[in-house]
């Protein structure tokens, strides 16, 4: 049993396109402790999303292992991995990905359909999650009746409603104006501090990264050692005020 919430060992992913091999991730060893908020940064194409997808078992690695709460994710069968993801992972997308025909409440309730909870319990949990993200007054709104920021907060409620071990967020503020982005970051910060949620967030925004307790950089498929920044990276980071 590992003490890490997330542990990757030599995690490697190569994409094959015709005769070319594209190394998206090379021997990444990432360790995340319970209650940490880790930001993943790096140039476009450096493998950030790939790393998140492998942790969530949305894709299979070509080498190495992923452990989440000590579970070797690669050892799970096709059917088991879906159930495992439902119970242990909350995923937040850049483009929100709410189900358009379902209301905010129904969207948040959706992952609970896979649990043993009865209807009233599911609604209770979903309402609580929407309350946490500050959208108690938007329960019966369809996604298109919500602003981008509100949509992303519903998506976060959907990600936390099953009380997962890890929240993985891939550029959650990427599609938002700065005001809404700030709301989402504040919310993620609160989830981390108040609720002790373990969060791994990919971001391009240095300001967003500062919400995290720790930043790890990737460059050309390599997870750089703690504290190391990609070459030329300093140029793109605005000075801290």
């Amino acid at each position: 049993m590992s003490e890490w919430v997330i542990e990757t060992r030599n995690l490697t992913k190569e994409f094959r396109r015709a005769q070319f091999k594209i190394p998206a991730l090379k021997n990444a060893d990432l360790h995340v402790q319970k209650g940490e908020f880790v930001a993943l940064m790096g140039p476009s194409g450096s493998g950030k999303s790939t790393l998140l997808h492998l942790i969530a078992a949305m894709d299979r690695p070509t080498g190495g292992e992923v452990f989440v709460m000590g579970q070797d994710v690669g050892k799970l069968s096709e059917g088991a991995v879906a159930r495992w993801r439902n119970a242990h992972i909350g995923f937040v997308f850049q483009s929100f990905n709410l189900i358009p025909v379902l209301t905010a409440l129904e969207n948040v309730e959706l992952p609970l359909k896979l649990t043993k909870l009865g209807k009233s319990k599911r609604i209770e949990h979903a309402k609580k999650a929407l309350d946490v993200v500050g959208l108690s007054d938007r329960l019966h709104h369809a996604p298109r009746q919500l602003s981008g920021g509100q949509e992303q907060r519903v998506a976060i409620a959907r990600a936390i409603v099953t009380d997962p071990d890890v929240i993985l967020a891939d550029e959650p503020t990427g599609n938002l104006d700065s005001g809404s982005a700030q709301d989402v970051l504040t919310l993620l910060g609160r989830l981390n501090k108040e609720f002790g949620k373990t969060i791994v967030m990919v971001t391009h925004d240095p300001h967003a990264a500062r919400t995290a307790s720790r930043i790890r950089y990737l460059d050309k498929g390599e997870l750089l050692p703690e504290g190391q920044v990609p070459e030329d990276w300093a140029l793109t980071i605005p000075a801290k005020e």
Partner: protein, 388 residues
């Protein structure tokens, strides 16, 4: 069912036009099938109503219909004397020798005219038609050129209404009464005095068939065996029920053509449903990816899209049932292959027929939905998410 049904229902409502068009195609297919089924059912009901369970129809050996059967008065006497025959209040055996002929009646729908059965019989024969009730006028009198017409005839042929005269045989026959025989074939026949008709046609010694009422079910079988095996008689005896049931085959051409058309349409409708569902799967690729990330399995995705296709087709099936409902009880007629004259009856849409229609629509939905649902389930999560 993990992915809620509301998800499917709302998606069907969101793409209203496509849903309605696809459902309408299925509805028309179901309507064609149901019309044929309602026609056959109506004909069957009418023919079944025509037959009395204890009636035995006696015809010349080898003749398939009353119309081309010839029996003599001597044969009639022999038949009457057989055991196992029911007797009326007067103690007479309930046996009726009848003369069947056809006349051509014109109607606004059929200006060229349609063959209608004219049945010559006696009071004993008329009394054996227990479900025929005189609703207008009176019975024909013996030795008179008088006709009692079935209600269906009176309604459809203006020239056969009360008081009108129809020319055939050796003169004019006056319509003096109308009988209502419900759905039975008697409603599409005309009844006259046996002797008058035989005299007009010069067929006093060459009548058509003999109808016999058996005393009970047990003696009925023995009676039929006895009649058929009597070499001297040279007659065939069959249950009236079987005789009428055989006439259901008169609808076979319509049934075959109708079913063929429905099947061809069903193939088209299945492809339409398939097309609609493939489009839905393509449009909702990102949703499929998202559902998978939330923990729904491939099987869950497959089930959900399959059910959506079934719902779509069920909507079509229900629409199809609504489309044919006005047909119910509509009067129609078909030329019988057995009697060479017209049987009039009503379309009959039963709950069973509607169930068959709904089942048929579900089969279309299932065949149309299986491949799209399968393709939705096979999608890789990341590929699906990128397609959004």
């Amino acid at each position: 069912m993990k992915i809620p049904l509301t998800y499917n229902l709302r998606n069907l409502t969101v793409r209203k036009t496509t849903t309605v068009m696809t459902a309408l195609g299925i509805a028309l297919t179901v309507a064609v099938l149901l019309s044929v089924a309602a026609l056959v059912q109506g004909l069957r009901t009418s023919l079944q109503a025509s037959a009395h369970p204890l009636h035995v129809l006696v015809t010349r050996k080898g003749s398939t219909a009353e119309l081309n059967s010839i029996t003599t008065p001597e044969q009639f006497q022999t038949v009457k004397a057989k055991p196992g025959i029911a007797k009326n209040a007067q103690g007479e055996p309930r046996v009726s020798q009848e003369l069947i002929t056809v006349v051509v009646l014109e109607s606004p729908e059929n200006p060229a005219g349609i063959n209608i059965t004219v049945r010559g019989l006696t009071a004993v024969g008329m009394a054996m038609r227990e479900d025929a009730r005189l609703v207008e006028g009176r019975m024909f009198r013996t030795g008179q050129r008088e006709i009692v017409v079935g209600r269906g005839i009176a309604e459809r042929y203006p020239m056969a209404r009360m008081g009108r005269k129809i020319e055939f045989g050796r003169g004019y026959w006056e319509v003096v009464g109308v009988v209502d025989a419900g759905r039975s074939a008697a409603s599409s026949e005309m009844f006259v005095d046996l002797n008058q008709l035989a005299a007009d046609q010069g067929r006093q010694s060459a009548l058509s068939s003999i109808l016999v009422r058996a005393a009970d079910q047990v003696s009925m079988q023995a009676l039929m065996n006895e009649l058929s095996s009597d070499r001297g008689l040279n007659l065939d005896a069959q249950a009236e029920k079987a005789y009428y049931e055989a006439q259901t085959s008169s609808a076979a051409p319509i049934q075959i053509v109708g079913t063929f058309v429905a099947v061809i349409m069903a193939i088209g409708s299945s492809f339409a449903a398939m097309n609609t569902m493939y489009a839905a799967v393509a449009r909702r690729a990102a949703e499929i990816g998202t559902l998978r990330v939330l923990g729904f399995s491939r099987l869950g995705i497959l089930t959900s899209f399959f059910i959506e296709s079934l719902l779509l087709s069920l909507l079509g099936g229900l629409l199809g049932c609504l489309l044919v409902l006005p047909l119910n009880n509509m009067q129609t007629a078909i030329g019988s292959f057995v009697t060479f004259s017209e049987i009039s009856f009503q379309f009959e849409i039963t709950p069973q027929i509607m169930m068959v229609g709904l089942l048929f629509s579900l089969i279309m939905g299932a065949t149309g939905g299986l491949f799209p649902a399968g393709s939705a389930a096979r999608k890789q999560i990341l590929v699906a998410l990128r397609q959004g």
